[in-house]
């Protein structure tokens, strides 16, 4: 039985997630860069907690620079929507076709509005 891991895997690579927050009067935007998985999802959850979801009317998650989002990451979105007021909007901007497909097909899309660009936000 080898003592060392074999070829580098996602589990053995250090994943990074950079989050930039922009707060405007009408909404809060989170710009995500990198990957959201079990190791970085707590960081996203912490940021979501800190922006005061309970009084937020609109939250925009900008995913244009997001290369991967796992099940843990998607659940952070659901968590966010559950903490926001009932009439609030959680908008997911951009993101790869894979990410959007998973959001839609698994029902996690019930919590978010998917748009391609900021101009598509109604």
């Amino acid at each position: 039985m080898p003592q060392q891991p074999f070829a580098p895997t996602r589990a053995s690579q250090k994943m990074t997630l950079n989050i930039t927050t922009e707060t405007l009067t009408s909404h809060v935007s989170l710009f995500l860069e990198g990957e959201v998985d079990t190791t970085s999802a707590p960081q996203l959850l912490q940021t979501l907690t800190e922006i005061g979801l309970a009084e937020l009317a609109e939250l925009r998650i900008h995913a244009m620079s997001l290369t991967f989002m796992s099940s843990a990451g998607l659940r952070a979105l659901v968590y966010a929507k559950q903490k926001m007021p009932h009439s609030s909007r959680l908008i997911f901007v951009g993101g790869s076709a894979d990410i959007q497909e998973v959001i839609t097909r698994t029902g996690l899309g019930n919590a978010v509005m998917l748009v391609e660009t900021v101009d598509d936000i109604p």
């Binding site: 070829a7 895997t9 589990a11 079990t38 099940s71 659940r75 998973v102 097909r105 029902g107 919590a111």
Partner: protein, 700 residues
Amino acid sequence: MIERIDGLPTNIINGYKVRPGKPLPFGVSHVPNGLNFSAYTSAGTGCTLVLFSRGVLEPFAEIEFPKSYRIGDVFCMIVFDLDYEDLEYGYRIDGPFQPEAGHRFNKECILMDPYTKLVSGRDVWGEEPDWNAQIYHYRSRVSFDDFDWEDDSPLEFPPEDLLIYEAHVRGFTKSASAKVAHPGTYAGLAEKIPYLKRLGINAIELMPIFEFDEFENSRIHPETGEKLYNYWGYSTLGFFAPKAAYAATGRHGMQVDELKQLVKNLHSNGIEVILDVVFNHTAEGNENGPTLSFKGLDNKTYYMLTPEGYYFNFSGTGNTLNCNNPIVRSLVLDCLRYWASEYHIDGFRFDLASILGRDPLGYPLSNPPLLESLAFDPILSACKLIAEAWDAGGLYQVGSFPAFGRWSEWNGKYRDCLRKFLKGDAAQVGELAQRVQGSPDLYQSSGRTPATSINFITCHDGFTLADLTSFNEKHNSSNGEDNRDGGNDNHSWNCGAEGWTDNAGILALRQKQMMNAFALLLTSRGVPMFVMGDEFGRSQQGNNNAYCLDSSLSWVDWLQLKANHQLFDFVTSLIAFRKSHPCLRVNKFDTTITTIGLPSSSFHGTSAWSPDWSQESRQLAWMFCLDGIGTGNSDVDLVYVIANMAPSTSWFSCPELPNGLRWCVAFNTGDPAGPVLKHEATVDKHGLLVGERSVIIMTA
């Protein structure tokens, strides 16, 4: 919140922080800062946890359970700091290889956790693995069980109100004609919910969705070169895991959420979900089959074995699960409880259910503990339990299945009688009278009700309805078995030509026969069921055993919906009619006289009140009556069905009705203008003509 004092490691093994685990729950579960692994083996002498990164051939760690990490026969260990989204795991069990004693331990095999809720390694249908390089094919994973159901819960429709639609997840939308974004998947099926609502069914019974291997026994057709698969899936690998390759998101490992979303969508549209479950055998086959899980964990416990250590084969597939062993009984209970509570499943149909009533040596039990446990389980108390009440070992229990007052049965006698009557066989009217009432001859004496009887004329086994009226013989050459497979007693009739024809008269008769079948099925007391596509005449070109065909021959061709809209409209109208007439859904065997002086059920012939029970009779009429007094509805619900399967038109007089009531024709399969009467025609009080091979349905 205070940190738990048992949430920290106590040891380090091979560089991994561990702690003695908890035996329950079995399988893998989340605990603070780690994962708890629990595996049962009564005769294994050692257990090693094998850990992989997702998709990587070789493991990154193997952690042997210390001897002290065992409670009873359960090895249990907590491992800390694992990336559970990326993790795949399995077990090596050490022990004797003594087949004659029932032991087949092999430490070289990496075994799938029988309690795994998620399986990877087969994420995309038909994507063939590297059989030589792969050392661990069906990989256990850790699932999220935190789906947001919101207000969803099982629908709990009264069983007598069910209209069951049997469907194959992949075959239902795989054809390009389905025009869905994700063909052949749970998501694809969800896109067809508007269609199911339009049809009017309120329960969908899904053919096996527990993880199975479509490559099991796969082969190339010797003549056509076509790849043949384990398409139907009656060979379970993972009892707690949904098939990944049925999910559009399977390659992302999101099949759990996708299936739950499908169930949630179906429920919100008033459709129950029943799963076809296969506990009679597993995918490990017999002594020549692979060691994937149970064989290597505890062969002697999980399988019915002969005294010499060979596998009993009451399933016809190689092995038989030892269902009345207490350990296996617990696994079956745990499994069904899991699906009922975590997936909100409304019911289960048990394949070859008679096996569940056999003891470890295969003898039928009079009071099988497993069946009793399932019938009285508190979590399953609202679930429909449906038995295919026979097995491949000769046990046939339709009417005698150990029901404990709860189980329903696929009524094979209904199927056979209706098929024979429809094709005009002699000596059927006596039995027909029993079947259309919900089969009191089978169920009344044991205190059961008409809803015990799942009435069906077609299902996945056998001809589709279109083929039942188009073929006298089976045509299974596509299966590569020289047409030796599939049943021979189909009670089918081709209406004058075998298979394809352009004879207008034959085609018209076939159409009418299909309408006759639906007319009788949907006006019978009991629970009606039919198979996907029958409502617009789906054909498998005469193949009555399409278990291995992943092709257009077994997929639903949605172009037929437009081509045969007349049949579809007829079926949807009949379904709506059934829903609006509670006398068709009475759930007791009752011949009391109603307040208007008519019995709740009665039989007639060409003369009212005078059925012809002779052997040569091909005609029967029946009246169902439900007194509205006490139900908030002052009207009496009356339905009169006339079935004339004789090759000639006959005059039928109808029972006289009191209180100024008049009979009105709602459906007439023999009406050349169309079977659904837009404006119900009032019948002359003396009676009416009923065409040859026709069914008329009337109300008052």
